[in-house]
Amino acid sequence: MSEFLSLHDAVARYVQDGATVAMEGFTHLIPFAAGHEVIRQKKRDLTLIRMTPDIIYDQMIGAGCAKKVIFSWGGNPGVGSLHRLRDAVEKGWPCKIEILEHSHAAMACAFEAGAAGLPLAVFRGYIGSELPSVNDQIKFIECPFTGERLAAVPSVRPDVSIIHAQRADRQGNVLVEGIVGVQKEAVLAAKHSIVTVEEIVDDLGATPNACVIPSWAISAIAVAEKGALPSYTHGYYGRSNRFYKEWDAIARDRDTFTQWLDNNVFNAADNVGGQA
């Protein structure tokens, strides 16, 4: 059964220095409040997995939490670069990080394989791409039935996955709605999982085929109202496209970024992800 914890206690218990952490949410439902809590608790040497690092990992990388990032598209959507990611990769600030890059199809399949308890994902991919020459975790295998050459990548099995969702009921079952990305897969693939939610309700209001994650498949639930801002929570609040654009200037400069981090993360209440 999942346990209701404060966000502080959930992160303190399940995110250890050196852990492999997946904080998912495909543009939608990005767990920013949890990301800020990880920064506040000064977690270090994390291997961060996310299909799209987005601003959340830009912030965590800039704050010095990461030693490695595994991703498939590392930009600020519709805006440009993730400057903190680039600064870490290109100049080693605030610390050197290693990157391992994939395609979306590979990562999506790797999360699914992790959820399915398999050691690898097999798919028709990376044909003619030079990504396999810079990522030794991409291999090719021969289909034993047809002989077709197919791509294989190791499954994603994080120590802890963290996602944000609309709501949980009082038993700790969680409803995820809208663009569901790889969130369910991330939770099921991980040893432990934290789900932050907008609210706790008596009845989830789920239709028969809704994306519901049962309480017994989740380690901890923490309430984090507006916990996905500046990304969004379908049915609750919209994406702050304005903040995504403003982030470009904030993140471009180390001092501006550090100042922003002090004002909006270190000196902010622990359940507020939003600052937009």
Partner: protein, 257 residues
Amino acid sequence: MSLEYTSSEMMSVTAARALENGMTCFVGIGLPSEAANLARLTHAPDVVLIYESGTLQTKPDILPLSIGDGELCESALTTVAVPEMFRYWLQGGKVDVGFLGTAQIDRFANLNTTLIGDYKAPKVRLPGGGGAPEIATNAGEVFITLKHSKRAFVKDVDFVTTLGFGRDGKGRDNVPNIGKGPTRVITDLCVMKPDPGSKELVVVSLHPGVSREEVIEATGWEVRFAEQLESTPEPSANELEILRELKARTERAHADA
């Protein structure tokens, strides 16, 4: 009477016209998204637009800033998980055309969205592959749209993120279960198509008022022109009006959010 329009508008309208009504299109963010939605709002009302965020058959009223904006989900027939999107819908062969943008493209239509320079010491780090590597091989064919410049149109890309026809033009030969690859490249100056034999991109159509010299000047290899070089048809008043309304709507919506 001749209409006034910009080279960007010419590019978007020409790219939109490439999509036929009823096609199923896996849409990249940015210019491809603008063109695909313009097609849907003009000559191709039944074009099926799919975004990698899992939004299937979506009809956004404004252009999304990100690939996963709420607008895409709210106006979609249904929204599926991302693994399902890539496995069932794309890899399963349900997509007619992938519509992509890129930072760099070479003469064999290989795309680079990874980096400029050397992988270990990049001059410029770009966002990476995203959905493109598998869109380009699993979709029936690929349309590419980007602005023409010597920086973008290079003889050999620094890194092949996404296969066009490979570094020798033979990258798709004898590969089973692979799409046709890039069939046209639409820029603000011209339309290019791969030569049927060598697969090198050849200019097949010049936009009105654009000279061969301008294209040569903006291309990083000795670009060839088709023997029967055509003139791209001008945008219609209706296309321009709908495109401008779409962009104005989008700008207003993004300024408010």
